[in-house]
């Protein structure tokens, strides 16, 4: 699971409808896998992501290089950094905790488990 995907996951325990995003990352194991750089794609992708959620999540996994506020202009260095954070950083193991109800979703072998028990849905 990369941060792009994490940026799209929210808690869905029954009744948990507010402040249920982004899921807080902890106890993570990270793997870096290099991939081709495509600046045009990154430019459009960045605009679609929830930036404040992204910088928080990045911080939770030890990445502190993202600016607090999304710059208006994306230079090459910024895009290279974003490329590394979004497309090359894989969360292999970890916990994702709902900031509202504290439900814990696990990431195992790179796959986040978003399934709930019947009593939780």
């Amino acid at each position: 699971m990369r941060l792009v995907t994490h940026n799209m996951l929210q808690c869905h325990v029954r009744g948990c409808n507010v402040n249920n995003y982004p899921l807080q990352l902890s106890e993570v194991e990270i793997e870096i896998q290099e991939t081709e750089f495509n600046s045009q794609f990154l430019r459009s992708m960045i605009r679609k992501l929830e930036w404040s959620a992204l910088i928080n999540s990045a911080r939770e996994i030890g990445i502190t290089t993202l600016p607090e506020v999304l710059p208006d202009d994306f230079d090459e260095d910024f895009l290279r950094n974003i490329h590394r954070v979004l497309l090359e950083t894989h969360i292999q193991q970890g916990k994702m905790t709902c900031p509202n109800c504290n439900h814990v979703y696990l990431v195992r072998d790179g796959i986040p488990n978003m399934l709930l028990n019947e009593s939780e849905t």
Partner: protein
Amino acid sequence: MRLKELESSLQDLSGFDEPKITLEQYCTTPHLAARMLYTAHSVYDDIESKVVADFGCGCGILSIASNLLESEFNMALDIDLSALKIAQKNCSNYEVEVDFVLADIKSDSLYQWKNKVDTIVMNPPFGTKTDKGIDMIFLKKALEIATTSVYSLHKSSTREHIKKKAKEWNVDCEIIAEMKFDVPMMYKFHKKKSVDIEVDFFRFSKKESRN
């Protein structure tokens, strides 16, 4: 990459070890998968450099085909962990990257996917065995999420129903091809060696995206 090359490069995928009948786990054939993705790519330009999601990915063939046609970011979702493990292994054999999510299509965990995914490709369960109507749940969810278009396979016998629903949901739909899905004998209730199911290959597109 040409269609033939795409199809033949998809021949080496592993299928399900123990297909689950309740989930209608049939692997999409390389022929169908190649046809779907090649059309989405070459006719509609919906794959290259796009964010592509695969709902009910099974062994991952559509995501791999999408990757081979240079999609930029792939996400694949399934409710069955053992299917995802096979898909993951297939992807590593093909050296393609796909983010997998173990989730139920019916849940609200996908709410944030809206407007972030360009194209959705899927071969949903037909909903003929135990979970009637599941194909339409997949389709509705996919249409809520995809920014541009959804490519999907549906039984030809449900064609009119699907057209009606598309109209109701205010999306354009067209049948790109009528195809035969050669389902091999995998389950006890299959009496013949394999059976051809007639399917329609649909493209659904958002009306707004053309403006």
